[in-house]
Protein backbone atom coordinates (compact mmCIF):
# COMPACT_ATOMS: atom_id res chain seq x y z
CA UNK A 1 0.00 0.00 0.00
CA UNK A 2 2.70 2.47 1.01
CA UNK A 3 4.67 1.70 -2.14
CA UNK A 4 1.74 2.40 -4.47
CA UNK A 5 1.11 5.59 -2.53
CA UNK A 6 4.65 6.67 -3.23
CA UNK A 7 4.21 6.09 -6.99
CA UNK A 8 1.09 8.25 -6.83
CA UNK A 9 2.98 11.03 -5.06
CA UNK A 10 5.87 10.90 -7.50
CA UNK A 11 3.50 11.09 -10.47
CA UNK A 12 1.49 13.90 -8.89
CA UNK A 13 4.56 16.05 -8.42
CA UNK A 14 6.10 15.10 -11.72
CA UNK A 15 2.99 15.97 -13.72
CA UNK A 16 2.47 19.23 -11.84
CA UNK A 17 6.07 20.24 -12.38
CA UNK A 18 6.18 19.26 -16.04
CA UNK A 19 2.96 21.13 -16.76
CA UNK A 20 4.46 24.26 -15.18
CA UNK A 21 7.60 23.88 -17.30
CA UNK A 22 5.40 23.31 -20.37
CA UNK A 23 3.54 26.56 -19.67
CA UNK A 24 6.83 28.40 -19.31
CA UNK A 25 8.11 26.98 -22.59
CA UNK A 26 4.89 27.79 -24.43
CA UNK A 27 4.56 31.38 -23.27
CA UNK A 28 8.14 32.51 -22.71
CA UNK A 29 10.66 30.27 -24.43
CA UNK A 30 8.92 29.55 -27.75
CA UNK A 31 9.29 32.39 -30.29
CA UNK A 32 6.18 34.13 -31.62
CA UNK A 33 5.10 32.77 -34.96
CA UNK A 34 5.63 35.27 -37.78
CA UNK A 35 2.32 35.13 -39.68
CA UNK A 36 -0.16 34.06 -37.01
CA UNK A 37 1.32 35.80 -34.01
CA UNK A 38 0.56 34.79 -30.43
CA UNK A 39 -2.50 32.75 -31.36
CA UNK A 40 -0.20 30.07 -32.71
CA UNK A 41 0.70 29.24 -29.08
CA UNK A 42 -2.63 27.38 -28.86
CA UNK A 43 -1.03 24.78 -31.12
CA UNK A 44 1.13 23.23 -28.37
CA UNK A 45 -1.64 22.34 -25.94
CA UNK A 46 -4.20 21.69 -28.66
CA UNK A 47 -2.18 19.01 -30.43
CA UNK A 48 -0.98 17.52 -27.14
CA UNK A 49 -4.60 17.18 -25.96
CA UNK A 50 -5.51 15.43 -29.19
CA UNK A 51 -2.52 13.14 -28.73
CA UNK A 52 -3.57 12.17 -25.18
CA UNK A 53 -7.10 11.52 -26.44
CA UNK A 54 -5.84 9.21 -29.15
CA UNK A 55 -3.39 7.46 -26.81
CA UNK A 56 -6.09 6.97 -24.17
CA UNK A 57 -8.34 5.23 -26.68
CA UNK A 58 -5.45 3.02 -27.69
CA UNK A 59 -5.08 2.02 -24.03
CA UNK A 60 -8.82 1.23 -24.00
CA UNK A 61 -8.29 -1.09 -26.95
CA UNK A 62 -5.43 -2.86 -25.16
CA UNK A 63 -7.45 -3.03 -21.93
CA UNK A 64 -10.41 -4.48 -23.82
CA UNK A 65 -8.33 -7.19 -25.46
CA UNK A 66 -6.63 -8.06 -22.16
CA UNK A 67 -10.00 -8.26 -20.41
CA UNK A 68 -11.48 -10.56 -23.04
CA UNK A 69 -8.46 -12.86 -22.88
CA UNK A 70 -8.04 -13.14 -19.12
CA UNK A 71 -11.29 -11.87 -17.61
CA UNK A 72 -9.42 -9.70 -15.09
CA UNK A 73 -11.75 -6.91 -13.87
CA UNK A 74 -8.83 -4.52 -13.40
CA UNK A 75 -8.36 -4.33 -17.16
CA UNK A 76 -11.96 -3.26 -17.58
CA UNK A 77 -11.43 -0.56 -14.98
CA UNK A 78 -8.37 0.66 -16.87
CA UNK A 79 -10.29 0.68 -20.15
CA UNK A 80 -13.19 2.65 -18.70
CA UNK A 81 -10.88 5.10 -16.91
CA UNK A 82 -8.96 5.65 -20.10
CA UNK A 83 -12.14 6.43 -22.04
CA UNK A 84 -13.14 9.04 -19.48
CA UNK A 85 -9.75 10.73 -19.57
CA UNK A 86 -9.60 10.42 -23.35
CA UNK A 87 -12.99 12.10 -23.70
CA UNK A 88 -11.95 14.95 -21.43
CA UNK A 89 -8.86 15.60 -23.52
CA UNK A 90 -10.64 15.15 -26.85
CA UNK A 91 -13.19 17.70 -25.71
CA UNK A 92 -10.32 20.08 -24.91
CA UNK A 93 -8.78 19.45 -28.32
CA UNK A 94 -12.10 20.15 -30.06
CA UNK A 95 -12.78 23.34 -28.11
CA UNK A 96 -9.26 24.76 -28.38
CA UNK A 97 -9.20 23.76 -32.07
CA UNK A 98 -12.46 25.56 -32.65
CA UNK A 99 -11.16 28.68 -30.92
CA UNK A 100 -8.03 28.56 -33.01
CA UNK A 101 -10.06 28.15 -36.19
CA UNK A 102 -12.09 31.20 -35.25
CA UNK A 103 -8.88 33.17 -34.83
CA UNK A 104 -7.37 31.90 -38.10
CA UNK A 105 -10.29 31.52 -40.52
CA UNK A 106 -12.88 33.54 -38.66
CA UNK A 107 -15.14 30.48 -38.50
CA UNK A 108 -15.76 28.34 -35.41
CA UNK A 109 -16.19 25.19 -37.42
CA UNK A 110 -14.09 25.00 -40.63
CA UNK A 111 -15.47 21.80 -42.24
CA UNK A 112 -13.42 22.20 -45.38
CA UNK A 113 -10.15 23.64 -44.14
CA UNK A 114 -9.62 21.46 -41.13
CA UNK A 115 -10.66 17.82 -41.54
CA UNK A 116 -8.67 16.87 -38.45
CA UNK A 117 -11.03 18.85 -36.26
CA UNK A 118 -13.92 16.90 -37.77
CA UNK A 119 -12.02 13.69 -37.11
CA UNK A 120 -11.42 14.48 -33.45
CA UNK A 121 -15.09 15.29 -32.95
CA UNK A 122 -15.99 11.91 -34.46
CA UNK A 123 -13.70 10.33 -31.84
CA UNK A 124 -15.71 12.21 -29.25
CA UNK A 125 -18.97 10.73 -30.58
CA UNK A 126 -17.53 7.20 -30.80
CA UNK A 127 -16.49 7.12 -27.17
CA UNK A 128 -19.59 8.92 -25.91
CA UNK A 129 -21.38 5.95 -27.48
CA UNK A 130 -19.04 3.69 -25.46
CA UNK A 131 -20.09 5.35 -22.20
CA UNK A 132 -23.74 5.26 -23.23
CA UNK A 133 -23.47 1.55 -23.95
CA UNK A 134 -22.09 0.91 -20.46
CA UNK A 135 -24.92 2.88 -18.91
CA UNK A 136 -27.55 0.86 -20.77
CA UNK A 137 -26.32 -2.67 -20.06
CA UNK A 138 -27.35 -4.62 -16.95
CA UNK A 139 -24.78 -6.66 -15.03
CA UNK A 140 -21.14 -5.83 -14.37
CA UNK A 141 -19.64 -8.77 -16.21
CA UNK A 142 -21.74 -8.32 -19.32
CA UNK A 143 -21.14 -4.57 -19.25
CA UNK A 144 -17.38 -5.14 -19.27
CA UNK A 145 -17.62 -7.71 -22.06
CA UNK A 146 -19.74 -5.56 -24.37
CA UNK A 147 -17.66 -2.48 -23.65
CA UNK A 148 -14.44 -4.36 -24.45
CA UNK A 149 -15.85 -5.50 -27.80
CA UNK A 150 -17.06 -2.01 -28.64
CA UNK A 151 -13.74 -0.50 -27.59
CA UNK A 152 -11.98 -2.80 -30.05
CA UNK A 153 -14.36 -2.17 -32.96
CA UNK A 154 -14.35 1.58 -32.32
CA UNK A 155 -10.58 1.85 -32.35
CA UNK A 156 -10.26 -0.26 -35.51
CA UNK A 157 -12.56 2.20 -37.26
CA UNK A 158 -10.39 5.21 -36.37
CA UNK A 159 -7.80 4.82 -39.16
CA UNK A 160 -10.60 4.34 -41.70
CA UNK A 161 -12.36 7.46 -40.52
CA UNK A 162 -9.07 9.33 -40.62
CA UNK A 163 -8.33 8.28 -44.20
CA UNK A 164 -11.82 8.92 -45.50
CA UNK A 165 -11.99 12.36 -43.93
CA UNK A 166 -8.56 13.13 -45.38
CA UNK A 167 -9.45 12.01 -48.89
CA UNK A 168 -12.86 13.61 -48.74
CA UNK A 169 -11.24 16.97 -48.21
CA UNK A 170 -8.62 16.48 -50.91
CA UNK A 171 -10.98 17.63 -53.66
CA UNK A 172 -10.79 21.09 -52.17
CA UNK A 173 -7.54 23.02 -52.33
CA UNK A 174 -5.51 22.99 -49.15
CA UNK A 175 -5.54 26.66 -48.30
CA UNK A 176 -3.15 26.55 -45.49
CA UNK A 177 -1.16 23.77 -43.86
CA UNK A 178 -1.30 24.44 -40.15
CA UNK A 179 1.74 22.72 -38.74
CA UNK A 180 3.88 23.20 -41.78
CA UNK A 181 6.88 20.97 -42.14
CA UNK A 182 9.33 23.39 -40.65
CA UNK A 183 8.74 24.33 -37.06
CA UNK A 184 11.60 26.42 -35.70
CA UNK A 185 13.85 24.30 -33.43
CA UNK A 186 12.70 26.10 -30.28
CA UNK A 187 9.08 25.54 -31.26
CA UNK A 188 9.71 21.87 -31.96
CA UNK A 189 11.44 21.44 -28.58
CA UNK A 190 8.49 23.12 -26.84
CA UNK A 191 6.03 20.93 -28.71
CA UNK A 192 7.89 17.71 -27.87
CA UNK A 193 8.13 18.69 -24.23
CA UNK A 194 4.38 19.35 -24.15
CA UNK A 195 3.74 15.88 -25.55
CA UNK A 196 5.84 14.33 -22.77
CA UNK A 197 4.22 16.46 -20.06
CA UNK A 198 0.72 15.57 -21.27
CA UNK A 199 1.57 11.88 -21.37
CA UNK A 200 2.78 12.05 -17.76
CA UNK A 201 -0.42 13.88 -16.83
CA UNK A 202 -2.42 11.15 -18.57
CA UNK A 203 -0.79 8.38 -16.55
CA UNK A 204 -1.29 10.32 -13.31
CA UNK A 205 -4.99 10.74 -14.05
CA UNK A 206 -5.26 7.09 -15.12
CA UNK A 207 -3.77 5.95 -11.82
CA UNK A 208 -6.22 8.02 -9.78
CA UNK A 209 -9.22 7.14 -11.91
CA UNK A 210 -8.37 3.40 -11.77
CA UNK A 211 -8.11 3.64 -7.99
CA UNK A 212 -11.62 5.09 -8.05
CA UNK A 213 -12.78 2.08 -10.08
CA UNK A 214 -11.26 -0.33 -7.55
CA UNK A 215 -12.93 1.53 -4.68
CA UNK A 216 -16.27 1.23 -6.46
CA UNK A 217 -15.72 -2.53 -6.85
CA UNK A 218 -14.83 -2.79 -3.18
CA UNK A 219 -17.98 -0.93 -2.14
CA UNK A 220 -20.04 -3.16 -4.42
CA UNK A 221 -18.47 -6.25 -2.80
CA UNK A 222 -19.24 -5.01 0.72
CA UNK A 223 -22.84 -4.29 -0.23
CA UNK A 224 -23.12 -7.79 -1.63
CA UNK A 225 -21.81 -9.24 1.65
CA UNK A 226 -24.34 -7.25 3.64
CA UNK A 227 -27.17 -8.41 1.43
CA UNK A 228 -26.23 -12.09 1.66
CA UNK A 229 -25.63 -11.67 5.39
CA UNK A 230 -29.15 -10.40 5.88
CA UNK A 231 -30.59 -13.08 3.63
CA UNK A 232 -28.86 -15.94 5.55
Amino acid sequence: MSKSLRIEDVLNWLSGLSMMVALYLVFVYAPTEATMGHVQRIFYFHVSSAWVGFFAFLVTLVGGIAYLRGGNRDWDTVALSSVEIGLTFTAMAVITGSIWAKATWNAWWPWQQEPRLVLVSILLLLYLAYLMLRAFVEGEERKARFAAVYGIVAFVSVPFTFMSVRWWQRLHPVVFEREGTHLAPAMLATFLFCLVAFTILYFTLLLHRSRLGRLADQAEGLKERLRTGEGG
Binding site: L125, L126, E138, V153, A154, S157, W167
Partner: protein, 223 residues
Protein backbone atom coordinates in the same frame (compact mmCIF):
# COMPACT_ATOMS: atom_id res chain seq x y z
CA UNK B 1 -23.55 -30.73 -40.94
CA UNK B 2 -20.66 -28.85 -42.41
CA UNK B 3 -19.93 -25.26 -41.47
CA UNK B 4 -21.39 -23.98 -44.71
CA UNK B 5 -24.59 -25.98 -44.26
CA UNK B 6 -25.09 -24.51 -40.79
CA UNK B 7 -24.63 -21.00 -42.11
CA UNK B 8 -27.07 -21.66 -44.93
CA UNK B 9 -29.60 -23.18 -42.53
CA UNK B 10 -29.70 -19.94 -40.52
CA UNK B 11 -29.97 -17.83 -43.66
CA UNK B 12 -32.69 -20.10 -45.03
CA UNK B 13 -34.77 -19.86 -41.87
CA UNK B 14 -34.74 -16.05 -41.99
CA UNK B 15 -35.60 -15.95 -45.68
CA UNK B 16 -38.49 -18.39 -45.29
CA UNK B 17 -39.88 -16.41 -42.34
CA UNK B 18 -39.79 -13.24 -44.41
CA UNK B 19 -41.32 -14.82 -47.48
CA UNK B 20 -44.24 -16.00 -45.34
CA UNK B 21 -45.06 -12.65 -43.74
CA UNK B 22 -43.59 -10.17 -46.24
CA UNK B 23 -43.57 -7.71 -43.33
CA UNK B 24 -40.17 -6.35 -44.21
CA UNK B 25 -40.69 -5.76 -47.90
CA UNK B 26 -44.04 -4.05 -47.67
CA UNK B 27 -42.94 -1.75 -44.86
CA UNK B 28 -39.66 -0.93 -46.62
CA UNK B 29 -41.44 -0.03 -49.83
CA UNK B 30 -43.56 2.50 -47.98
CA UNK B 31 -40.50 3.72 -46.08
CA UNK B 32 -38.56 4.36 -49.31
CA UNK B 33 -41.41 6.33 -50.82
CA UNK B 34 -41.80 8.41 -47.67
CA UNK B 35 -38.09 9.22 -47.50
CA UNK B 36 -38.05 10.34 -51.11
CA UNK B 37 -41.08 12.54 -50.64
CA UNK B 38 -39.62 14.12 -47.51
CA UNK B 39 -36.27 14.76 -49.18
CA UNK B 40 -37.94 16.16 -52.28
CA UNK B 41 -39.75 18.73 -50.23
CA UNK B 42 -36.76 19.62 -48.09
CA UNK B 43 -34.26 19.87 -50.99
CA UNK B 44 -35.55 19.76 -54.47
CA UNK B 45 -37.46 22.99 -54.52
CA UNK B 46 -34.18 24.87 -54.13
CA UNK B 47 -31.69 22.62 -55.94
CA UNK B 48 -31.51 22.99 -59.71
CA UNK B 49 -29.40 19.88 -60.34
CA UNK B 50 -30.72 16.76 -58.60
CA UNK B 51 -27.51 14.84 -59.34
CA UNK B 52 -25.76 17.03 -56.77
CA UNK B 53 -27.86 15.89 -53.84
CA UNK B 54 -28.79 12.40 -55.09
CA UNK B 55 -25.72 10.57 -53.65
CA UNK B 56 -26.36 12.00 -50.21
CA UNK B 57 -30.08 11.22 -50.25
CA UNK B 58 -29.41 7.72 -51.56
CA UNK B 59 -26.95 6.85 -48.81
CA UNK B 60 -28.85 8.46 -45.98
CA UNK B 61 -31.84 6.38 -47.03
CA UNK B 62 -29.72 3.22 -47.17
CA UNK B 63 -28.27 3.86 -43.73
CA UNK B 64 -31.70 4.36 -42.17
CA UNK B 65 -33.17 1.37 -43.98
CA UNK B 66 -30.25 -0.84 -42.86
CA UNK B 67 -30.67 0.27 -39.27
CA UNK B 68 -34.35 -0.59 -39.35
CA UNK B 69 -33.60 -3.97 -40.86
CA UNK B 70 -30.82 -4.80 -38.39
CA UNK B 71 -32.97 -3.82 -35.43
CA UNK B 72 -35.83 -5.93 -36.66
CA UNK B 73 -33.64 -8.92 -37.47
CA UNK B 74 -32.49 -9.62 -33.91
CA UNK B 75 -35.51 -8.11 -32.15
CA UNK B 76 -37.71 -10.66 -33.90
CA UNK B 77 -35.53 -13.49 -32.59
CA UNK B 78 -35.56 -11.94 -29.15
CA UNK B 79 -39.35 -11.64 -28.89
CA UNK B 80 -40.03 -15.27 -29.59
CA UNK B 81 -37.15 -16.52 -27.48
CA UNK B 82 -35.54 -17.88 -30.63
CA UNK B 83 -32.23 -16.24 -29.87
CA UNK B 84 -31.60 -18.42 -26.81
CA UNK B 85 -32.52 -21.46 -28.85
CA UNK B 86 -30.13 -20.40 -31.57
CA UNK B 87 -27.25 -19.96 -29.13
CA UNK B 88 -28.02 -23.27 -27.44
CA UNK B 89 -27.87 -25.08 -30.76
CA UNK B 90 -24.81 -27.35 -30.91
CA UNK B 91 -22.85 -25.33 -33.40
CA UNK B 92 -19.95 -23.00 -33.71
CA UNK B 93 -20.88 -19.44 -32.70
CA UNK B 94 -19.10 -18.12 -35.77
CA UNK B 95 -21.58 -20.03 -37.92
CA UNK B 96 -24.30 -17.97 -36.24
CA UNK B 97 -22.40 -14.79 -37.02
CA UNK B 98 -21.97 -15.59 -40.69
CA UNK B 99 -25.53 -16.88 -40.96
CA UNK B 100 -27.01 -13.73 -39.47
CA UNK B 101 -24.58 -11.54 -41.43
CA UNK B 102 -25.51 -13.16 -44.75
CA UNK B 103 -29.19 -12.92 -43.89
CA UNK B 104 -28.83 -9.22 -43.12
CA UNK B 105 -26.78 -8.73 -46.29
CA UNK B 106 -29.49 -10.38 -48.40
CA UNK B 107 -32.29 -8.38 -46.80
CA UNK B 108 -30.54 -5.02 -47.00
CA UNK B 109 -29.56 -5.71 -50.62
CA UNK B 110 -33.12 -6.66 -51.45
CA UNK B 111 -34.41 -3.44 -49.87
CA UNK B 112 -31.86 -1.43 -51.84
CA UNK B 113 -32.79 -3.24 -55.05
CA UNK B 114 -36.36 -2.25 -54.33
CA UNK B 115 -35.45 1.38 -53.74
CA UNK B 116 -33.12 1.96 -56.70
CA UNK B 117 -35.78 1.85 -59.44
CA UNK B 118 -38.02 4.14 -57.36
CA UNK B 119 -35.17 6.61 -56.95
CA UNK B 120 -34.32 6.40 -60.65
CA UNK B 121 -37.86 7.23 -61.68
CA UNK B 122 -38.55 9.95 -59.15
CA UNK B 123 -35.19 11.68 -59.54
CA UNK B 124 -35.09 11.10 -63.27
CA UNK B 125 -31.55 9.74 -63.06
CA UNK B 126 -30.25 6.41 -64.27
CA UNK B 127 -29.00 4.76 -61.07
CA UNK B 128 -28.90 1.18 -62.35
CA UNK B 129 -25.26 1.20 -63.46
CA UNK B 130 -22.87 -1.74 -62.93
CA UNK B 131 -20.26 0.43 -61.20
CA UNK B 132 -22.87 1.92 -58.90
CA UNK B 133 -24.29 -1.51 -58.06
CA UNK B 134 -20.79 -2.69 -57.14
CA UNK B 135 -20.30 0.31 -54.85
CA UNK B 136 -23.64 -0.25 -53.17
CA UNK B 137 -22.85 -3.91 -52.69
CA UNK B 138 -19.45 -3.17 -51.11
CA UNK B 139 -21.00 -0.56 -48.82
CA UNK B 140 -23.76 -2.95 -47.83
CA UNK B 141 -21.25 -5.64 -46.84
CA UNK B 142 -19.67 -3.06 -44.53
CA UNK B 143 -23.05 -2.21 -42.96
CA UNK B 144 -23.94 -5.88 -42.51
CA UNK B 145 -20.52 -6.89 -41.12
CA UNK B 146 -20.49 -4.27 -38.34
CA UNK B 147 -24.27 -4.11 -37.97
CA UNK B 148 -24.69 -7.80 -37.19
CA UNK B 149 -22.17 -7.60 -34.35
CA UNK B 150 -23.52 -4.35 -32.94
CA UNK B 151 -27.16 -5.38 -33.18
CA UNK B 152 -26.29 -8.45 -31.11
CA UNK B 153 -24.93 -6.03 -28.49
CA UNK B 154 -27.78 -3.54 -28.79
CA UNK B 155 -30.47 -6.18 -28.43
CA UNK B 156 -29.20 -6.89 -24.91
CA UNK B 157 -29.42 -3.29 -23.73
CA UNK B 158 -32.22 -1.11 -22.49
CA UNK B 159 -33.61 1.22 -25.18
CA UNK B 160 -32.17 -1.03 -27.86
CA UNK B 161 -33.82 0.74 -30.80
CA UNK B 162 -31.87 3.88 -29.92
CA UNK B 163 -28.70 2.06 -28.95
CA UNK B 164 -28.05 0.49 -32.36
CA UNK B 165 -27.77 3.74 -34.36
CA UNK B 166 -25.75 5.37 -31.58
CA UNK B 167 -23.23 2.54 -31.71
CA UNK B 168 -23.35 1.95 -35.45
CA UNK B 169 -23.30 5.38 -37.07
CA UNK B 170 -19.88 6.62 -35.93
CA UNK B 171 -18.30 3.34 -36.99
CA UNK B 172 -19.80 3.10 -40.47
CA UNK B 173 -19.14 6.76 -41.14
CA UNK B 174 -16.11 5.95 -43.37
CA UNK B 175 -18.33 3.69 -45.50
CA UNK B 176 -20.91 6.44 -45.89
CA UNK B 177 -18.26 9.03 -46.77
CA UNK B 178 -16.50 6.87 -49.35
CA UNK B 179 -19.67 5.42 -50.87
CA UNK B 180 -21.20 8.87 -51.24
CA UNK B 181 -18.01 10.12 -52.90
CA UNK B 182 -17.92 7.23 -55.35
CA UNK B 183 -21.63 7.57 -56.14
CA UNK B 184 -21.09 11.26 -56.84
CA UNK B 185 -18.12 10.44 -59.07
CA UNK B 186 -20.12 7.90 -61.07
CA UNK B 187 -23.09 10.22 -61.52
CA UNK B 188 -20.80 13.04 -62.65
CA UNK B 189 -19.12 10.74 -65.16
CA UNK B 190 -15.66 11.02 -63.57
CA UNK B 191 -13.27 8.34 -65.01
CA UNK B 192 -12.66 5.20 -62.98
CA UNK B 193 -9.05 6.01 -62.13
CA UNK B 194 -10.18 8.99 -60.04
CA UNK B 195 -12.28 7.01 -57.62
CA UNK B 196 -10.67 3.55 -57.76
CA UNK B 197 -8.86 4.25 -54.50
CA UNK B 198 -12.23 4.71 -52.77
CA UNK B 199 -13.34 1.26 -53.94
CA UNK B 200 -10.15 -0.32 -52.62
CA UNK B 201 -10.83 1.51 -49.38
CA UNK B 202 -14.32 -0.01 -49.17
CA UNK B 203 -12.93 -3.50 -49.82
CA UNK B 204 -10.34 -3.04 -47.06
CA UNK B 205 -13.04 -1.85 -44.64
CA UNK B 206 -15.23 -4.86 -45.44
CA UNK B 207 -12.44 -7.39 -44.97
CA UNK B 208 -11.12 -5.92 -41.73
CA UNK B 209 -14.53 -5.51 -40.12
CA UNK B 210 -15.67 -8.98 -41.16
CA UNK B 211 -12.54 -10.32 -39.44
CA UNK B 212 -12.88 -8.21 -36.29
CA UNK B 213 -16.61 -8.88 -35.94
CA UNK B 214 -16.09 -12.60 -36.49
CA UNK B 215 -13.40 -12.71 -33.79
CA UNK B 216 -15.38 -10.72 -31.21
CA UNK B 217 -18.88 -12.11 -31.86
CA UNK B 218 -18.16 -15.06 -29.55
CA UNK B 219 -17.76 -12.70 -26.57
CA UNK B 220 -21.02 -10.93 -27.31
CA UNK B 221 -23.28 -13.96 -27.38
CA UNK B 222 -21.75 -16.03 -24.54
CA UNK B 223 -23.44 -16.23 -21.15
Amino acid sequence: MSFLNKVLAIVGKDVVAELRTKEMFSSMLVFALLVIVIFSFSFELRVENVAQVAPGILWVTFVFASTLELNRSLAMEMENGCLDGLFLAPMDRSAIYFGKMLGNLIFISAIEALMLPIFSVLFDLNLILPSLLLTIFLGTIGFAAVGTLLSAIAVNTRAREVMLPVLLFPIILPVVISATKVTGGILDGVPLADWAHWLRFLVAFDIIFLAVSYMTFDFVVQG
